[in-house]
Symmetry: C4
Subunit: 241 residues, 4 copies
């Protein structure tokens, strides 16, 4: 009944590739067109990313679960289901603020003082990563329990909001954090900060999972029905797969 590992890995790779394209590509285009207005660029980036997330989870969720994120995979495993190897998810934080390599666009951002959190990693960044990932897993567990079919919209909506209320360097994703530490971008993370970021992300995701175990005692026993096969189970009761 469940897709085999190879199929699921291809689906996760496909979804990650399109998510990266949506996040980075929309960030670059928005920045080029925005005439230096950071709020407008971020708004376009937000809408494109939120829409892409909804669509990608709708499209690939029934096949692979649409994790794209090691924290999601670990939290899923905590609740009794293990989809496969740790997959990658591109965080919405990979926003125009972070993804630029082209010199022409950089001056737009350099001249704007729009950073809420201090740039270097520290307690604020750690807290921001913790909160962003904590909220993401709260949304996943809270919605997938009672309304699995709504999860794609809830995750897209959460990211749409989280773009604006967390400090701009939060990723909510260890894979992206590692990738960012290897790139020479404006907001690149110092390699020395990577471990702290990843600890914060896993801590946030695990804390949310533990909290929802207490909030919803039956969560663990029904977890295997939730994230992975939600769409298929809910809407495909009698169709051949």
């Amino acid at each position: 009944m469940r897709s085999n590992l190879r199929v699921r890995m291809v689906a996760e790779f496909l979804g990650t590739a399109f998510l990266v394209a949506a996040v980075v590509g929309s960030g670059i285009m928005a920045e080029r067109l925005a005439n230096g207005n950071g709020a407008l660029a971020l708004l376009a980036n937000t809408i494109a990313t939120g829409a892409a997330l909804v669509v990608l989870i709708l499209t690939l969720g029934p096949i692979s679960g649409a994790h794209f994120n090691p924290v999601v995979s670990v939290a899923d495993a905590m609740e009794g289901d293990w989809i496969g190897p740790v997959f990658f998810r591109t965080s919405p934080r990979n926003s125009p603020v972070h993804c630029r390599n082209d010199g022409g666009a950089r001056h737009v951002w350099d001249s704007a003082d729009f950073r809420v959190a201090p740039h270097p990693g520290g307690a604020g960044q750690f807290l921001s990563e913790f909160i962003a990932t904590f909220g993401l897993l709260c949304v996943i567990w809270g919605c997938s329990r009672s309304r699995p079919g709504i999860v794609p919209f809830a995750v897209g909506g959460y990211i749409t909001a989280a773009y604006w209320f967390t400090a701009s360097t939060s990723f909510a994703n260890p894979a992206v954090t590692i990738a960012r530490s290897l790139s020479d971008t404006f907001a690149g993370i110092r390699p020395a900060d990577v471990p702290l970021f990843i600890v914060a992300q896993f801590a946030g995701g695990i804390a949310a999972t533990i909290l929802f175990r207490w909030l919803v005692p039956g969560l663990a026993s029904s977890a295997k029905d939730m994230v992975v096969h939600h769409a298929a189970e809910i809407e495909l009761p009698a169709r051949p797969r």
Copy 2:
């Protein structure tokens, strides 16, 4: 079947914390990035707040009802259901117009003449509060009766629109009104105006509740099935909790 009081209070606290973070955080970031354009800052604040409300009600509604607002709790009690102590809800009115404490951003707003209603409390503010809360409860009672699963989207959509058609100092929430009177912000309310605001909010919410009793005679008898457990009841007929 229903969650106990402690679980529900934690859920209400969690939702309120994230809603405050979304409303205030998105307002601050939008203001910093908007280069002084108030419409753009408010648009970003609107989209982030609307998305956050949808997601938070989807996530926590099945656990605590996602009231976050004393007026909602009182209206719920009027219809035969009493969830618990009066919880807090951060109004979307806690917008970039209100939440600034930082001097750097203030000049942007000080130089813009964007206030629809006169700043000091008065009949206009009272009316605005009445209408905003009246509309919120109309939406809740109108939708929760026939389509409980749509309530999160309806409330988010209402707030998205209400941001733009009510005077900017409306809160639709007594808890936020009190909190605002204690803060030293640009659009802080004078403590002397607080009672009038709260009266207007409760009056609006109660008026909507009474109106819908007349519009939908069966409302009271089915009220206990509505706001609190909507998602669980509708979509979780046979799943262990």
Copy 3:
């Protein structure tokens, strides 16, 4: 089973009042905050109006059908159902372009050359009114037949798009057309043009209704189940009203 006439009229009045507030209020606030950028003001007006329409139809549709528009009532009557007297609907065309009476804001728009259609009424305006109302009724008949619960979102989405692809003075609503001819606004209609506008709107709505009779032969026989009670019928099979 159906609401009585008085209840439905109150619901239609309530919905019209909030729709007017959303359309006009958001237009005024957007214009004041937009620093003269017409696209930004219209975008905020669009989002607020679309969200308000979705919410108002969700809230009041089960009570009164949420017509708000004589053309909708007539088309509904053509298909075998007559809800009551012709109610009023505020068209989204009542946008910031039209609703201003304050001199301070007018210069913003006067200095911008953003009109697609020529200002005086004529063949272009007639065609625009025909198309706008034709499209609205196509959406209503097309969606209400197969997915009545989706109608509020389809109408809101149609208006969100129609704001941008029809000439700015289109209303899609005879009631609003008459009201506009009585007001002294920037884009006020000359009283002499009113009859032509109304003819175009009814012609568009009737043409769409006739077209869908041919496209979907069973439309008339199932029409009475559609617009008015959609939400209740679909989602309230066993709940007391």
Copy 4:
């Protein structure tokens, strides 16, 4: 049970006409109002197009399948269902960047350096067309399999995102590509490039279809139930048509 060919062709023509009006009309109006800000114009164009796509597929999907695109028709035929002649679909790529013929607005765009891909056709454009159409068909096959009722929202959401992450001259539609080669617009395609574009689009659509055959083995056998009649089948089990 299925609509006859003439009805379906009329529905496809109607949908194409409204989609063209939405895409081109919103692009023109957004450009005129945006005071030269390309990101704002594209954002308005994106929102209007996405909303129009959702609504048109909701409205006409139950009648004709709402293809509007030869690639969709061919992919549908590959899976065992053939709706009729190749219909036309206006791509969202027909954005403000492309549709201008009026000299007044052109300078706005000429002075902005917002092109991600090089203007002349080449490997980058070919790849962009391939990816855009590949993604569109992935979304259609991925969602229509498990949740046919969600397809209109998924396609609208995909286009909303794809506007921002593909190079601006991608169309994802052979019909639009041909039409564009005949027009004298800013970003008109050279006739010599048309064959390559069309090859890329069909290649992308066919690649996605083959991929999903492997990802979801039962896809072909259940394909005839998917795209065309989704809404009717899911939500109209017992209603006369």
